[in-house]
């Protein structure tokens, strides 16, 4: 496909991944992780793996983010590192 698109989305994937690990608010980390999952889904759709992209969109950017938010809700929200 157009390699500029793929490069930008790859760059966004790495930025979201590092961001999800670096923020100190756990709710923000889970939302960034949902964004990371969605960018992965776009990458796979570009590569032609439509079944894998469908699964990652429903599982990663859907249910996985909700489970993270539920777990953060039941434990503490701030973290020191």
């Amino acid at each position: 496909m157009i390699w500029e698109f793929e490069f930008i989305i790859l760059f966004l994937v790495v930025v979201c991944g590092i961001g999800a690990l670096a923020v100190k608010d756990l709710l923000g980390a889970s939302i960034l992780f949902g964004g990371y999952s969605f960018m992965m889904c776009l990458l796979w759709a570009i590569m032609g793996a439509v079944d894998v992209a469908f699964t990652e969109a429903s599982v990663g950017a859907g249910v996985s983010t909700v489970l993270f938010v539920a777990a953060v809700f039941r434990t503490s929200r701030r973290t020191k590192d």
């Binding site: 790859l10 994937v13 790495v14 991944g17 590092i18 999800a20 690990l21 756990l26 980390a29 889970s30 992780f33 990371y36 999952s37 992965m40 990458l43 796979w44 590569m47 032609g48 793996a49 439509v50 079944d51 894998v52 699964t55 990652e56 599982v59 990663g60 249910v63 996985s64 489970l67 993270f68 539920a70 777990a71 953060v72 039941r74 434990t75 503490s76 973290t79 020191k80 590192d81």
Partner: protein, 132 residues
């Protein structure tokens, strides 16, 4: 110089996937908060899945769903070079399922740890274990 440029253009995708894997691995080892460790584990898993799926890509091929299969009267001859390799997709579907199952159990374990020790930071948990 030409050979180095050809090497970089041909392989830079794999290098970025390996960098993503190492980010996830570093987070699992170094981070002290349990939820951050779980996020790192998931980043590692999805980066490995990305690496595998990228092996099956072919230039100029279409998605692995055979078009016009049941319409049209005659038999079409299907060339394997026109369709993307479907085997990595199949194996990685199972990998995504296993990743979400592991995520559920890991989050349940971290909630249990929080109820027992009152904190999610690893060093504070070690201190409380040493005191008791």
């Amino acid at each position: 110089m030409d050979a180095a440029l050809a090497l970089i253009v041909g392989k830079y995708n794999y290098w970025i996937y390996i960098v993503l894997m190492m980010i996830g691995l570093y987070a699992v080892v170094v981070k002290k908060n349990l939820i951050k460790k779980i996020i790192g584990m998931n980043i590692l898993q999805t980066a490995i899945i990305l690496f595998y799926v990228s092996i099956g890509a072919k230039k100029g091929a279409t998605i692995p769903i055979i078009a016009h299969a049941h319409n049209g009267g005659g038999e079409h001859v299907i060339h394997a070079a026109e369709y993307i390799n479907p085997l990595p997709h199949v194996l990685m579907l199972t990998a995504i399922v296993v990743a979400v199952a592991t995520l559920g159990v890991a989050l349940a374990l971290s909630i249990k740890v929080y109820k027992q020790y009152g904190t999610l930071e690893e060093d504070e948990i070690y201190e409380k274990i040493r005191e008791s």
